[in-house]
Amino acid sequence: MLEQLPLYEQAILTLAAMVMFTSFALLAQNRVVPMIHIFAWQGLLVAVTTALVAFDSGKHDLYLSAIMTIALKALFIPWLLHRLVKRLGIDREEHGAEHPATVLMIGAGLVIFCYYVAQPIEQLSASVTRNTIAISMAVVLLGMLMLISRGKAVAQVVGFMSLENGLFFAAVAATHGMPMVVELGVAFDVLVGAVIFGVFFFQIRDSIDSLDVDQLNRLSEQDE
């Protein structure tokens, strides 16, 4: 089946698989700077896929989305995070999950689960990108898994952003993108979110001397 598709459509599928791989790489990575780099790569891959989908479907406003994605997710936010990490002086800390291999195995299970869930949806669609719905769902869930498995705030922000990547990817794959207004709004939200996170890092660190979110338990009113 794959052989009958034109080469650029094959490329869309390959890129989708690579986006999924970057999600796994984020899960496994325990250094914060490479993590940000992988995140940037993920943004770039998503953007290239969007551009290819735009070419495939002839919807030119998707090009704009692609450019925006590159600007925001492949360049600006990674740059912002990078600067933050440097200024917070945490670029050498370990930010990994406790059992990376276990987390990866759970991740693989999630992908299979997404495939199972997405199968009925895929039957409805006839476009090339229908198969990527499962992948984009998996990227969302893997982002959530990253949020759960990491204790450090920076890693969690990266997880959150990658989750957002998954949502965007799903929109592109399933319906060839959201209306431009919505997309602009979401992009703006993400941008503001990233900035606010940046401010919060300093706040959190000032109040609890750490960026370990498990320490936030101490804010609970219950005595331990």
Binding site: M20, A101, A108, I135
Partner: protein, 314 residues
């Protein structure tokens, strides 16, 4: 009958060229590191010298120790016999599929590790323990990549797989991309190259393969060295011929074979350059980082498999 003769010649070519490939990798590495490279014939001279040298056996060595070099070299040679090198129509390729190929390497490794423990030094045991640990992790990654390949081509026979991929033309498959990456990592781990093992070191903290063969000398050592070079070449040929099969001879005319030989040479040279670049750029890993490296290989293979199922079939 002609086919069998061809298979025999290909096997001989494999054996004859194995040291050359290692020498080529070494040469490129030297260039990259601003060193003067030894001659491309140096490995052959080393082998000849080793064959001429007297064998010194430990008082403690058992028959297992003496038999091991022959078994390793034999199993590796058999592995070379079933891998299509220049021509895809190899009668010997049907004898063993790619899982059996993995079995041959496992057999060689089993005896290698036993020989490491035979003399009763701490080094040998250390090398064996590390080798078996690493191979235990590399094996599932390798088989997972192989499964992906087998599911794409509906076969585990190397000839059939290559035939299928050739017939299909240029298709961009995410599954094969990831299988390729995974097999590259596994190949590096299995052939004991940087960053998993350093074939040039004899530092007890880091050595794996060298620790096992520390007690070997003379022709025994020559056989083992040769088998190691052969194994590297087999992995190289596997990777270039499966993932970039273009140019391999599909029929056994003299002209096609000559062209195929040239193309394979070229592909191997490129691969050798890549390997050398990798070995120059990367540093040897700590032993307990190797599992992470192999888990990466496993994840790649797994993603390859999943993307085949999700993206290519469904």
């Amino acid at each position: 009958m002609n086919d069998w003769l061809l298979a025999l010649i290909e096997m001989a070519l494999f054996v004859a060229l194995a040291p050359l490939f290692s020498a080529w990798v070494k040469r490129v590495k030297c260039w990259l590191q601003n060193r003067r490279a030894p001659s491309l014939l140096q490995p052959y001279r080393d082998l000849r010298r080793l064959f001429a040298k007297q064998v010194v056996l430990s008082h403690n060595a058992s028959p297992v120790f003496r038999a091991t070099p022959y078994i390793i070299a034999g199993a590796t040679l058999l592995a070379a016999a079933v891998v299509p090198f220049i021509s895809v129509n190899l009668p010997t390729a049907a004898i063993a599929d790619v899982i059996v190929l993995a079995g041959f390497f496992a057999l060689a490794r089993f005896f290698q590790a036993l020989a490491g423990m035979d003399v009763g030094t701490a080094f040998g045991g250390m090398g064996s323990s590390r080798e078996m640990t690493i191979s235990a992790l590399a094996e599932p990654a390798m088989l997972m990549a192989v499964f992906t390949l087998a599911m794409v081509a509906h076969s585990t026979n190397l000839s059939t797989v290559i035939d299928y991929l050739l017939a299909q033309g240029l298709v961009l498959r995410p599954s094969l991309l990831f299988a390729l990456l995974s097999l590259l990592l596994v190949g590096i781990a299995e052939t004991g190259r940087i960053p998993v093992d350093n074939p040039a070191t004899h530092l007890e903290l880091t050595m794996i393969h060298e620790a096992m063969i520390l007690e070997y000398s003379g022709r025994h050592l020559a056989l083992i060295e040769w088998a190691v070079q052969l194994k590297l070449l087999i992995y190289g040929v596997l990777i270039v011929n499966i993932f970039f099969p273009w140019g391999i001879a599909t029929h056994n005319s003299l002209h096609a074979l000559a062209v195929a030989a040239g193309v394979v040479f070229f592909k191997l040279m490129v691969l050798g350059v890549l390997l050398a670049v990798g070995e120059t750029v990367l540093a040897k890993m700590r032993l307990f980082r190797v599992p992470a490296f192999l888990v990466l290989a496993l994840t790649l293979a797994l993603i390859g498999l999943l993307s085949h199922i999700i993206l290519e079939v469904g």
